[in-house]
Structure formats: C-alpha cells, structure tokens
C-alpha cells in the first residue's frame, strides 16, 4: 500500500519502494517490504506497529543510518543512497535531529555541552538567541551545567530533545523517546515535540508503540510485517488502541494458522 499523507505539502523525508532485508539464506528477515511513504513538512507524524514490525528500521533508513536493500530514500531533494559515509555523517549532523529511547547523552559532558554537541562537531557556534529559546522551551535553564548522571530520565530526554531542536534540522526523528519514562515525564517530552511543531514549525517523525504517545501526533502510520498497513489522521489514544487491537487479532489468527 502506498500512502501520500498530504499531497499539498512538500515532503521533508520520503521513502520510495523501500525494502530492507536482514541476514542471508534461510534466516533472511524482511524488515521493510516495498514501503513507499512521504512525511510532509511541519507535521508531527507517528509510526506505530507491533514490536518487530520494522518501525525502527524505517526510521534508520530515513536517517541514513541504515542502507536500504531496494528502493530510494530522500531527505528533501537529497537521495541518500548515492551519498558517501562522510556526506551521510554531515547530513545527520546538519539536517536531522535525533532522540533515542535511552543513552541519548554523553556522560562526560554537561547538559549544555550535549545540546550544542552537533554544532561543535561542525565547528560552529549555536545561535545564542535560538539556543536560549529552545532551552527555555524544554525548561532546563537551571540544569545546564549538570551532567547526565545528575539528571532524571525525563530531564535527560528533554536535553536530548533540545539537542535535536537547536540545530533547526529539516526533520526530528525520535525512536520511542518516552519508552523509558513514566507517564508524567513522557507527557512532558511529547508536549515538547508537539510545541516544536506548532510553534517552531518543526517536522517531527516519532516511532512509538504507545497509543497515548501517538495521540500527540497529527497523523499515525501503521506498520505490520514491514509493510504499511494503515494511516490515520488526527488520532486519539482510543482510536489508535482500537486499531492496534485489530492488528493483534490478525497476528493471533496468523499464529493459530501456524504461520
């Protein structure tokens, strides 16, 4: 199934007929199977699906962290398959912001140093006014000189979000950013991402398996067995949960048939 979420807006990132096969011979796993999808600018899109459905793989391929087996991936107009490792590195540094589930920060650096790390890797200074605004937005003014070990899990994730936003990337990619947080800390992080889209015009792509988290997004893409199974506009946690249950039934049915 191909999906064009909103044809009127240009895509920040796009996957065209992408397949990703892991392993060789008998043990091959088709993590992505002929996926075509675009993620329009200025929107908050969630990717959902059961564990092992290929969510992370999709994110990694879109970020140039993983190479596709077939098909093409675009960031804006740049086709990633033709880029060298050096170019991909620069692309990640300058055009993408990352938030991972855990271990987002370097333990030897302060929160502030972590936030400006991509800029300092590029040998640049961050725009101070923008930095202040982002830091204020994530509510970390008092914590900038602390090291990750001295911050709570939620604070650490907010530092990671600040790092992702401060470079004004074309797209922020987050892989289960709330997976390790309690619901309150998780809500803070999700609200932050929501604000980034609404107030800063940021594009956000978030992988999650939490229906509540998906409820913060403008739209949800459902993945199953490496294929795009469905798309939902203006999701609410309840609707998402219902949709997920349907997947589970299908999966259970498949299991019963001995697949």
């Amino acid at each position: 199934m191909t999906t064009n979420i909103d044809p009127t807006v240009p895509d920040a990132a796009r996957a065209v007929r992408v397949s990703r096969v892991h392993g060789e011979g008998d043990t091959t796993v088709r993590a992505l199977d002929d996926v075509t999808i675009g993620f329009p600018r200025g929107r908050f899109t969630a990717v959902m699906g059961p564990s092992g459905s290929g969510k992370s793989t999709l994110l990694h391929c879109l970020a140039g962290l993983d190479a596709v087996t077939d098909g093409a991936v675009y960031l804006g107009d740049t086709e990633l398959g033709s880029l060298s490792d050096r170019q991909l590195t620069r692309l990640r540094r300058d055009r993408i912001g990352f938030v991972f589930q855990a271990f987002n920060l370097l333990p030897t650096m302060t929160a502030l140093e972590n936030i400006v790390l991509p800029a300092s890797l590029a040998g640049r200074r961050s725009d101070p006014a923008w930095l202040d605004r982002v830091v204020a937005a994530v509510g970390l003014e008092q914590r900038l000189q602390h090291r990750p070990g001295e911050l709570s899990g939620g604070q650490q994730q907010r530092v990671a979000v600040a790092r992702a936003l401060v470079g004004r990337p074309e797209i922020v990619m987050a892989d289960e950013p709330t997976g390790n947080l309690d619901s309150r800390a998780g809500a803070e992080v999700l609200a932050l991402l929501r604000d980034a889209v609404d107030e800063l015009g940021q594009t956000v792509l978030m992988v999650t398996h939490d229906p509540v988290a998906a409820g913060y997004a403008d739209g949800v893409v459902f993945l199953a067995d490496g294929r795009i199974a469905d798309y939902m506009e203006a999701p609410t946690p309840d609707r998402v949960l219902d949709r997920m249950k349907a997947f589970d039934r299908v999966a259970a049915g498949a299991g019963a048939r001995g697949e």
């Binding site: 540094r93 920060l105 030897t108 890797l121």
Partner: protein, 846 residues
Amino acid sequence: MLIRLSLANLWARKRRLVGLSLAVLLGTAFLSGALVLADTMSSSIGGLIRDSGAGTDVVVRNATAVTDRPGSQRGGIDAALVDRVRAVPGVAAAEPVIQGYGQVVGKDGKALTGNGPRTAGNWVPDPALTPYRLATGRAPAKSDEVVIDRATAKQGHLVPGDRVTVLTPGPVPVTIVGVATFGDEDAFGGGSYTAFDLEGARRYVQRDPGKVGTIAVRAAAGTDQKELAGRIQRALPADTQALPGKAATGEAVDAVEDGFLKVFRTFLTVFAAIALVVAAFSINHTFSVVAAQRTREVALMRALGASRGQVLRQALIEALLIGVVASAAGLAAGLGLAAGLKELFATIGFTLPARGLVFKAATALTVLPVGILVTAFAALVPALRGSRVAPVTALRGAGAEQARLPRRRLVAGLALLAAGLGMGIVGGGMVGLAVAAPAVLAGVLLVAPAGIRAAGGPLTALLPRLRGAPGALARGNLLRSPRRTAGAATAMLLGITIVTVFAVFAASLKEGSGAETRKVVAGQLVIGGSSPAGWAGGGHSPELTRRTAQIPGVETVSGLRNATSLVDGQSRQMLAVDSARLDRLFNLDVTGGRVTALGPAGMAVSKSAAKDRGWVLGSTTEVTFPDGARQRFTVTGLYDRTAIVGDYLIDRTAWESHADAALDAATVLRLAPGVATGTVKAEVQRIAKDYGAPPVRDREGFVAARAEMLQTLVAVVYVLLALALLIALGGIANTLSLAAHERTRELGLLRAIGAARAQVRSALRWESTLVAVIGAAAGLVVGLFLGWVAIRAIGGANTGAALPFAIPSVQLAVLVVVGAVGGLVAGARPAARAARLPVLRSISAE
C-alpha cells in the same frame, strides 16, 4: 562448575580476554627473552672455549696467575721445557703455544679493531692441539708469513698474497699466506687471531727466544689425562704447572661464567625485573578496568544468589587461567625477543658471541610461575573490590565505577609523599634513597587520582578550544574517572621514572668523569686510551711513545701500561709509567711524598687504596709479577685523583723485565711552553701512521672520546629500558581499546548525531596521548628527584669527589616526546577500530 562458568565467561568476552592476556604476555616475554639470551651466551661462549681446548690433554703453563680475568695472559715458561715434556712417557705430541697481542693493520693504514681481544701467536701444526683450521692458503713457513682469521680477512678484504702490517705492538711487515676459521666460526667471538710460524711468534710476539707461552700436549692413546698431567708435573720445575685439558677448559669457562656472563646475566635480570614491575602495574590496571566493566554482571550474579566468595573465586580462576595461557605464550615470545635483541645489540655495536638460541627448562620453570603469580597478585585487588559489589547495583544500574575518591588514600598518599621527599632531601645517602624511592612512588600513585581531578581540568581546559569537539570529548573521558586515568598512566609513569633516573645517572657520570679526566690530565696531547677495546686490551707500541719524545717542542712523555699483578697476593690493576716527570703529565693532587722518580722499587698509591690497606708513606708491600717473580715495593707517594691512572703506579723500568707484551694503552705528552699544540699533534699523527694510526687527541678531544666509550653501554641500557616503555604503551593501547569497547554505545551515538569518523578517531587518540603525557610528565618529575637523590647518595658513598648533578635535557625532552608520540601511536589502533564501528550496531549494543 565455577571453572566452567569462568571459561564460558572468558570466551564470551574475547576482547577482554585478549586485553588481559596481552598485558601478561608483554611482561613475561621480556623475562623469558632475557633468560634465553643469557643461557645462549653462556652456552655459546662455553662451547667456543671447549672447542678450542678439545684435543688438548694437558696444558703446561706458568704457575703464577695475576688475574683470573678471561683471556688474560700468564707469564711465559722456559722454551727448553718443550723437549722435556716430549720425553715424558705417554706424551704423543707436545707443541709450544705462544699467544700475545697482535693487531692487523688494514690496507688503508688503519688498525682493524673489533669488540674482542686482538691476539697473535704461532701456527700449531697438530690439528688436535689447535681449534684453528685452514680455510684457504697454507700454513706459515717463514717468520714474516702469517695466517689470519676469516673475520679479520673479511673485515679488511684481505686474501692470501696480500702484504700488511701486524702490530705486536711494534709494526711487523708480513705476507698473508692463509685464512683460518675457529672451528667452523669465522673467529673466536669478536676477537682476532694472527698466526706466525714458531720462529716469527717467538721473535715478534713472545720477544724472548728462550720462552714460550704454554705447551699443549696430546696424550698417547689410552693414557689418562690426569695421570699424564701428574707425570709431566714431576718433570717440571716448581714455577710451572701441568693441568689436565678438561680442568683447563673448565677453569676458563668458569672464569667467563663468573666474570662477564655473571655481569651480563645480572644486568638482563635487573631489566627483566623492571619490565615485570611495569607489566604488573599494566596487568593490574587492565584487571581493574575489566572488573569495573563487569560490575553489573557481578551484581546480577550476586542478586541471583552467588556468594561473595564464589564471585571472588571465579575472578581468581579466570586470572589464573589467563596467567597460565599468557605466560606460556610469553615464554614462547621470549625466544623471538631474544633473537631480536641479539640483532639489535649487534646494530648498535655490541655484538654478542651467541650461536643459535638456547632454551633451558629452567627458563620455563622461572617464567611460568613468575607470570602466573604476578597475574594472580595483580588480579587480586580488583577481584576483591569486584566481589564487594552490592547486589542492588544490578537493579539500580548505577555507574560502573564509584566517582568519589576515598579520602583515606589521599591522606596516606600525601603522608608517604612528604616522608619520601623529606627523606630524599634531608636524609641523603643510600638509606635515604632506599626509603625515598618507594615512598615517593607509592605516594605519587596514591595521590594521582586526586591530582588528576584537581589539576587535570585546568590543565586541559585549552584542549576543547584548540581541538574542538574531539578535544572536549578526550578531556571529558580523561576526567570522567580520575582513578582509571591514573591507573592507565601508572605503567608509563614508572617506565619514565626509571629511564629518567638512568639518564640523569649516565649524564652525571659522564660529566663527572669528564671533569675528573680534564683535571687529572696535565699533558696537552693523548695518544690512544679511548678505543672501545679498552676492555679488550688494545694499545700501541712503546716505540711510538719513544719516538714522539724526540719531537721538538715535546717536554716530557709517558706511556701508560697495564701492569696487573698480585699486590700482597691480591689481583690489582697497576699502571707502569715513565715516572721521571709524572707531575708534569698528571695533576694527581699529591697528598704526601712524591710520585715522580719512583725508581725500581717505589710505588705511588691513591689515598683511598692506602687507607683500605692501612698503608702510610714508607710502608712496603710484596708484588708478584705475571712471570712469577716477587719484589718488595715501598710506598713513596700518596695522591688523591684516580681518574685515568687508577690506584697503583710503578715505574716502567720496574715492570718491563717481567712482562712479555710491551703495549702502551695510552701515551700522554706534555709540550714545552709556547709550543703550538696543533703543530706537534700533526707530527705525532704522522709518526703514528707507522703504528696503525692510533687516535691522537688534545685534552678536550680525549675527554670527549672517553665519554664516547660509555656510549655503547648507555645505548644498550636505553634499548632495554625502551622495552619497559613499550610495555607501558602496550598497556595504554590495551586499556584504551577496552575503554572504547565499553563505550561502544557512546561512540555510536556520537556518530549518529553527526560526528565524523575522523573526529571519533581524533578524540580517542587525544585521550591516549594525554594519558601518556600525564604519565611521562609525572615520571619525569619523580625521576629527576630520585635521580638527584641517587647522585647525592653515590657521591656520599664514595669518599671521592661528589658526582655533579647533570640534567640531560636533550635526552629528557626526547623521552617526553617519545612518550607522547608513543601514546598517539598506542591510541592509533583502538581509535581506528572505534571509528570504523558500524553506527547502527553500536547504538543498539548492550
């Protein structure tokens, strides 16, 4: 069950296994290499000596021995004894053997010098009585024909038919008629051999037609060596001795074993011990790092019900397994190292007479237990600390290492440091050194983590500004665990400390001996006296000395001749000089009596030697010369300065009649006032050309040349110490790659958010460079201090002049640079590996 778990554990963490094993292997390989090298030398030299005496059943020689140094000569014996020995029943053959000094001069007029004694003698026709075998040409048949050894022939590109000069030490023009091998070797060790016919050897080498050196006897079939020796002895006068061949070679082998080889073995063992200590710290640190990495694993095991004892035992079993396997590997690696060292020594001019490699069971029996024990001890503390991990750590997932530094350590460290410094500064002497060295080192090691925490930040503050993000990363990693950083730098610190102490020592010795030489030599020119053959008995003809005395402008001259004899029955090195105007040639700082005009029975003695023997002016002593003659000497003068001249001086005339070889080790010339040194020097050089062109130098040139003599030894020591530094650097590389492995996830994250490979690489390289620099800088400071204490201690121990404290700034600068570059190189591989890590796999690493 524990063993199976240990094995499984080791196997599952191959990277750590390799890291730990490497640390042990490096340390044991050096020990093994040192032992193999010493055994090889021992068996080679012993083999050479046994070969040379294999066919000789009885040796007849002078009964008097003035020294038991290998290769040194006894006085000659009556030539008429040869026929008397031949007449003894059971003697199949008896040949006179003459051996003395003989130096071949190359076609370019320069002496063909080398690392061993330069000998000449007679060609012994009976192949049973000589180890030499003709390779080409024929035996000498006239007194101006010679056979030379193949090594000398190769060195000088000489072939039969060539006409050359042999200095015995007077120049003898000869024709080479043959080239011989020593058994199947080119020559005996690093020495050379020139064989005249018997007539020629008597005339030029023995220089006394009535005498020969020794008599080599071959027994008739079925005659016992001992019995024959006894029979021959009965036919000999009392001052002559008949010794069974086996006893003679045994004596020679023992002399080498007790002399040179013992020194060599001790020397190597000391360096092996140094290397082992450095390695032990390296091993200990590696185990600490691994223990820290395993904290969570251990905690999980404890949470699942493993007892503290079980955890400890498991860690120790792992350490033992590593110790056994890695020590065995080190043992094998030592063979390669010994071969490499042999080559390396040869390239810096220290050729070892070693054939093949000898591997004795004793080497294995030393290296394996030592390696295993050192490993077990090095692992003990980290294992104990590891076993104290609380089970909740697994659940909390707390940081692997405690960041807090225990106050107790800091206090203890500071106390030790203060005590060591105090003892070194105030205490002085050998006792002061013995207390200061360990106290300062232990203090520094204990204080280091706190020091790094306190000073590391400000000192590296510029790095991020200079090197950007990689610099900041390196700095952060350096400071993240001061204790670990200190541990990583420890081996380096120790290594550099030792090298620095040695460098200070060598520089001070050099400067001290230079200053003393400058003070003692009053003449303006010196001939010879500086060849590396100083210990191989080199020198030049006294004829050269006599002729230079005739040069206009030369006021007075003396040759210096080694006159080693028994003084009151003990072997002592005396010098025989022309004592008439000795005060014009040397500033001996005479404290009593006179040192000039010693005459046939006068002796000048250094103050310290006189004190040792309880002599005063006018005391008498009995001297036994190499020819067995005894004579009483009276102490006529006492002096203070012993550089160059040593402790005992007698006149040339008192010595000459008792010595076979007339050889001046050096000649000192005093010029008349107002005479230009350069003019006389040129004239001396012109004459010296007839005598193999020994070097002619002015006083400063002589001082410099004497200093050069130390250079080979110093170079050998540096090579050995460099190995200790290599071990330290290997340790740094090792722990860095372990650290990189542990930080896989961080590195992956860095790459994911846009760090280029080059930046990751650069960060890790900086880290290892900084660790090395920290270790090197601290080692330099500690080494300078301990070097200073040591120099003062030695100055105090010798009643003689205190050694000046010299800082070899160039060498030390090179040392620190080498340390830093070494750190960079050590970091290269782990850094390159870390930079190559696949990003995706790294971020999802556990």
